[in-house]
């Protein structure tokens, strides 16, 4: 059976036999960095194409279909175009911060990749406070956006950045509380343990209604955190032209664009890990034959399938709903999502203490 675990252990063993341990570790780091960057580039291309195709299908269009079979290389062509474009810096902008901001946004997205388990035992860093690490790092992305908006010296950018700041800071709360429900149920912050706890069923099935509510709140909150429609107030095309990245062009714009899609991937991966069992196959009670067939599907396929399903749901939101207004956005968080998730956490705590889950 195909498994990524075998490849990683083989590479590791080979490196440690051939070289001394320090050098081997350094080489492993380089391999991981290269793999992460490749994954980023690949995901960016795939997700942008996916978004355009999903949007086209929903909007009764065909979507990109000229470059390559079925428009497969459209995003590659777009990237080439963006690389060749001049990266303009406005005259009155704060040059250093202006050029730094896209890299900060990108770096935050990269850091979040570390604790995610892509397949069985295929994880860069299985830190024992994985969930805490994720919520801590993901709140840093607002710094990059604020920096971009402020340094651009553009009124539209500033408005967009300020909206984004208010939005991300408030939605972090309900995203964190939704994640906490799973932590309460599992009793661990380590992602591998959370996945292992879902061997006999995913949390969304095992955790009764509170888990479902937490899942819905999590999806809404991360949609807002990644600045996606209907919460795309930071960009708000029809109001602020392009919000915080109005002044960016060329590759610097592409970095923002890429970071947006990578962020979606990461939050969906986290959602899939916490609520849908990560790489765990679908197991139903005592149907041995069914469970056995499910085990034959590689764990990486399970993980990617769940993640891409969640990404599709978020794209579906974007192409269906109108945008909220800034005060309604904050009302939704503070008057609806936060009280509901607090109550939900209480319920989950009761369930966990009494051991009502399976």
């Amino acid at each position: 059976m195909f498994s990524l675990e075998g490849i990683t252990t083989a590479v590791q063993d080979w490196l440690f036999i051939k070289f001394n341990p320090t050098l081997a570790l350094a080489m492993e780091c380089i391999i991981v960095i290269l793999l992460a960057i490749t994954l980023f580039a690949g995901l960016g291309l795939v997700l942008v194409l996916m978004e355009r195709k999903v949007a086209a299908r929903i909007q009764i269009r065909l979507g990109p279909n000229r470059v390559g079979p079925g428009g497969m290389f459209q995003t590659v062509a777009d990237t080439l175009k963006l690389i060749m474009k001049e990266g303009l810096t406005p005259d009155s902008a704060d040059k250093f911060l202006f050029n730094l901001a896209p890299f900060i946004v990108m770096m935050v997205a990269m850091l979040l990749l570390a604790p995610i388990a892509f397949a069985k035992n295929f994880q860069i860093w299985d830190i024992n406070i994985g969930v805490l690490y994720i919520s801590a790092i993901s709140s840093l992305s607002v710094i990059g956006i604020l920096m971009a908006g402020w340094a651009s010296n553009n009124k539209y950018s500033l408005l967009g950045a300020m909206r984004s700041g208010a939005q991300i800071v408030s939605y972090e709360l309900s995203a964190g509380l939704a994640v906490l429900t799973i932590v309460v149920l599992t009793g661990s912050l380590q992602l591998s343990e959370i996945i292992a706890a879902q061997q006999n069923g995913w949390w969304i099935f095992k955790g009764h209604i509170p888990a479902v509510i937490a899942f819905v709140i999590f999806i809404i909150a991360v949609t807002a955190e990644t600045n996606r429609a209907p919460f795309d107030l930071a960009e708000a095309e029809s109001e602020l032209t392009a919000g915080f990245h109005t002044e960016y062009s060329g590759m610097k714009f592409a970095l923002f664009f890429l970071a947006e899609y990578i962020n979606i991937f990461i939050v969906c991966a986290i959602g899939a890990t916490l609520f849908l069992g990560g790489w765990m196959p679908l197991h139903i009670g005592s149907w041995e034959a069914f469970n056995h067939i499910m085990d034959y599907i590689p764990s990486s396929v399970w993980f990617m399938g769940k993640t891409f399903f969640l990404i599709f749901v978020i794209m579906w939101f974007r192409w269906t709903f109108p945008r909220l207004r800034i005060d309604q956005l904050l009302n939704l968080e503070w008057k609806y999502l936060l009280p509901i998730s607090l109550l939900n956490l209480l319920l989950v705590a009761v369930i966990a203490i009494l051991g009502w889950h399976f």
Binding site: R57, I60, L62
Partner: protein, 158 residues
């Protein structure tokens, strides 16, 4: 009471959103509904309405004859000065002078396809053609002479 209102608010809001998602989800799952026309590829099957006002043309018959008498009705009717009639005098076999057109100059770049010239023409010499691919690299190419070289007026048209 407040709690009841709050819950019904949330319920109604969520159901209204789900209804919208069902609609877009239907279109996502039904690619038959796609209405895109792949224009340059479907040129062979493209059907344009016969009345479509694309440009003014002067139909010529098999003997290279047209119906234009050079009366300048179209030139007068045109609001933009799109048409310019250049006339000459032919000598008929009886030795009489007869007015005929030398060139009917048509400026496509000025034309707004209002159809007033076609309506004004007393002998139906000009009509609108359903063509629309007029782009050229040089604007002067849009100035056209509608009568073909060495064409004559058809017999019996005054």
């Amino acid at each position: 009471m407040f709690l009841k209102e709050y819950i019904s608010d949330v319920y109604n809001g969520v159901t209204s959103l789900l209804k919208g998602m069902r609609k877009t989800g239907y279109y996502f799952l039904h690619p038959k509904e796609i209405i895109t026309e792949q224009y340059p590829d479907n040129r062979a099957t493209l059907v344009l309405a016969e009345r479509f006002k694309g440009e003014v043309v002067m139909p010529h018959d098999a003997n290279n004859e047209h119906a234009c008498t050079g009366c300048t009705a179209c030139e007068i009717a045109c609001p933009n000065g799109t048409i310019k009639v250049v006339t000459k005098f032919d000598i008929t076999p009886e030795g009489k002078k007869k007015k005929a057109i030398d060139a009917l100059v048509y400026h496509l770049e000025l034309c707004t396809m209002c159809n007033l010239c076609v309506v004004a023409c007393p002998s139906d010499a000009i009509k609108m053609a359903p063509t629309f691919e007029h782009s050229v690299f040089d604007r002067s190419k849009l100035t056209k002479i509608l009568n073909k070289p060495a064409s004559k007026i058809r017999e019996g048209i005054e």
